[in-house]
């Protein structure tokens, strides 16, 4: 039997009081795709950072193809044939693809020769693995999927035999993710070894040969993918049984609470991204907006929330026309329109502030948080404690920096904040992006409970599973237009997929 491509023996790592990796034993067969799955904080990133030389293990041994190696810094890892594609790309946006690939391995002051050599090499790699990228285009102008391809090319160009991908699909559309998986399949066929770090069960089931599950710093299982199921993996990750499907009764929609008519919304460049969209949200229903990322969902959500001005149309809510009256996010919140943004770290919070100050963001002018000219610190603190208790945010410490909460707890706090004012309508974008399974279950249950309490919810998600699990009525958006509306009962993944691709019923 040949030696594993990568083997970790009793790797142990502590950060102060936290035991991040406990005597990890981990082996990856050469020429396979190996999944590494676990919740946020399970220690999988720490482990991969040890392999790639960002951290040093306190104890333990790393072997590559049976040979023990010392990895002190990324340079050593690259020399050992290990490449890593980070979740957040490490590319120079103004440089061309070619320049980015060569960056760091120029091999001398004269670039021309190296560039010519790299060009030939990359064209060969592109042919072998189906990794076509326009070599002379500035990286910043490429779509995210192609930028990721550049990262993979960088690793391969440096001679990587073992490729680690950290949450590669977090920034991709489903279609881009499928392309990525095809690519990984080709890499495997050519004998490369791939380690896929993720928390998404579907990806593990779709592409991996074996999977290692981590929980609380330890390996809890290593299984043949064929021999397991998403339910079993989820249970091993969380340590208890998990409902993958939300339990919910039938919706009983009431009166329309929010009506959008003929909305046209431009992006920052003035190009219309939403083109004449009309719909209504009724009390007691969840309306899902399905679509491939980048088809106008974000702009529509922002226009409804008041952070982006529509160029045409009206939004009727609480007897007012929000567009004609030019009501901003602040006034809309006062009217009872709450908004959980798609990208919480970018739009919804100040990561460097303590949790308690994030728990009032957007509500800082409410009388309950102020006393005359000054803020009411006691009320802010107590309010945060209340929100944390309601949504089981852990640790329940209002003074802790927001960025040091896990993704799931961050999102729970944001949702708790938006629901605290008892809004009539909740706009919610990607409610479970970057959220672990245990928290997904909790958040889904809360959203359904909100519907049952007679609120209207508008759900934007690129996870089709999530739309299907939660929505009572599904709108499909393609290229800025609503191309279909389906009741949940008649919606299937295939039907939605066709609509999302822009194939209209009766025409396609």
């Amino acid at each position: 039997m040949t030696a594993p491509a990568l083997e970790l023996r009793d790797v142990d790592k502590r950060f102060g009081a936290v035991h991040a990796n406990r005597a990890i034993r981990f082996a990856v067969t050469a020429g396979s795709v190996h999944g590494l799955i676990g919740e946020n904080g399970a220690g999988k990133s720490t482990l991969m950072n040890i392999v790639y030389g960002f951290h040093r293990a306190d104890r333990g041994e790393i072997r590559v193809h049976g040979r023990p190696v010392e990895i002190h810094r990324p340079h050593d890892a690259i020399a050992a044939g290990i490449g890593m594609v980070h979740q957040h790309f490490m590319l120079v946006e103004n440089f061309t693809v070619l320049e980015n690939v060569v960056l760091g391995v120029e091999g001398g002051p004269i670039l021309a020769g190296r560039l010519a050599h790299a060009r030939a090499e990359l064209e060969k790699l592109a042919r072998d693995y189906g990794l076509e990228v326009p070599l002379d285009t500035a990286v910043g102008t490429l779509p995210v999927g192609l930028q990721q391809r550049v990262e993979i090319l960088k690793a391969l160009y440096r001679g990587a035999e073992i490729l680690i991908l950290d949450e590669p699909t977090a920034v991709l559309t489903p279609q881009e993710a499928d392309q990525l998986f095809k690519m990984l399949g080709r890499l495997r066929a050519q004998g490369k070894t791939v380690i896929l770090v993720t928390h998404k069960l579907r990806e593990i089931m779709a592409i991996t040969d074996r999977v290692t599950v981590m929980r609380q710093g330890a390996v809890v299982a290593e299984i043949e993918t064929k021999a397991t199921s998403p339910r079993e993996l989820a249970e091993k990750m969380v340590g208890r049984s998990v409902l993958l499907q939300v339990e919910k009764g039938a919706a009983c929609p009431g009166a329309p609470l929010l009506v959008a008519r003929d909305l046209e919304v431009p992006d920052d460049q003035g190009v219309p991204r939403v083109k004449g969209v009309s719909f209504e949200l009724r009390a007691g229903e969840i309306v899902g907006l399905a679509g491939v990322s980048g088809n106008g969902q974000s702009e529509l959500l922002e226009a409804l929330a008041g952070t982006r001005a529509p160029s045409r149309g009206e939004i009727l809510f609480q007897g007012r026309n929000l567009v004609a009256d030019a009501l901003g996010p602040r006034e809309r919140r006062h009217l009872g329109l709450a908004h959980v943004p798609e990208d919480r770290l970018r739009f919804g919070v100040v990561a460097a502030f303590a949790a308690q100050y994030n728990a009032i963001l957007g509500y800082q002018d409410r009388p309950e948080y102020n006393r005359g000219l000054l803020t009411n610190e006691a009320a802010i603190l107590a309010g945060c404690e209340r929100k944390m208790a309601k949504f089981d945010v852990r640790p329940p410490n209002p003074r802790q920096r927001f960025s040091s909460f896990s993704g799931g707890n961050q999102q729970k706090l944001v949702i708790a904040r938006e629901l605290d004012g008892d809004p009539a309508v909740l706009l919610v974008g990607q409610p479970t992006r970057g959220v672990d399974i245990g928290a997904i279950e909790f958040i889904h249950q809360r959203l359904v409970a909100l519907r049952d309490a007679g609120k209207a919810l508008f759900l934007v998600s690129v996870e089709l599973d999530e739309i299907l699990a939660l929505a009572d009525r599904i709108l499909v958006i393609n290229n800025g237009e609503i191309v279909g509306e389906l009741a949940r009962a008649e919606a299937t993944e295939e039907k939605l997929g066709l609509l999302m691709a822009g194939v209209r019923e009766g025409r396609g």
Binding site: A42, T46, G434
Partner: protein
Amino acid sequence: MSAAKQLPRWADLTLLPVIGLVAALLVSGGVIALLGESPAQALKLMVSGAFGTQDAIGYSLYYATNFIFTGLAVAVAFHAGLFNIGGEGQAYIGGLMSGLVCLALGHWPFWAVLPAAVVAGAAGGAAWAFIPAWLQAKRGSHIVITTIMFNFIASSLMTYLLVNVLIKPGQQSPETREFSGSTVMPAAHELLARIGITFTPSPLNLAFGLALAASVLVWIFLWRTRWGYELRVTGQNPAAAVYAGISPPRVIVAAMLLSGALAGCLGLNELMGSQHRIVIDFPAGAGFVGIAVALMGRNHPVGIFFAAVLFGALYQGGSQLSFDMPKINRDMVVVIQGLVILACGAMENLFRVPLAALFGAFGGAVPPPRDRAGEGTRPPAGKQS
């Protein structure tokens, strides 16, 4: 991916500036030794020159007063995400306004002149900050560039005014006539004498108290009012500010007005407290030292106070040093100040990284880096460049 370890907060706030200071003094000592003087003797002279006598302390705190105002000005703008380099010009114009009030209201009693001079100084500084602020908010013109330009404009304008308009008739030096006695800031030794404490005369004056009051007010504003909260949100994350219904252009203008107003108060100390007339180039670089003071003081009023006192002491002790050690001239003192700025500001990470590693090695208070897997919420890096 930087696996940067974090320092405990207290070490970041106290240990790091102290280490930077010590490093700067060591390098300065080396330079002094090269000049053939004894570094230990120089340090002794400098410390005694800054704190050795009552009037030395008075001088140090008098300089510190200027730096508190300009340091606060930089800090307020910084919390809104703005780098206000224009403290010098704002102080210049603010001082002009305070000075004009003193010249015009010479017959008023002091208690009436004081609020008028404060308002005039603050309004002058704020007005000088307004145009760069407005250009930044509405047109996106970079505030660093425009405030630097406005320093030059202020300097030219003041030279013109002092040489051609405000100059006291019949004299050569470009300065105005002296303020009347009722518009002069009471000196510290006079105030202390009233409560029975004898203090050697020095330029230290009531403006020091105003600077301390301004520090408290800035702290309350930034951390205990919703406007300060909105200002800090905008500085940290403008997109989140928009989401929260805050208008970043309005915050930018408001923060710069406040910043300019603080810098504009410098004339209260320099002109009303010490020169008793409007003289040419009275800010004398205090606007720029304010940047270093804010940087070293971590943009917090308490830190700014200590940093301002340090720089005040360097000014006072340094001039004493150049007086006592002929080989060390004024320029050498500027070199020492520059080294302090370099060590505490620009090269801070030189000390931060090993210090953090040291703390890490001894376990304890270092929070572990979080497992960032699964946090798919960030866009690919660098989109906002």
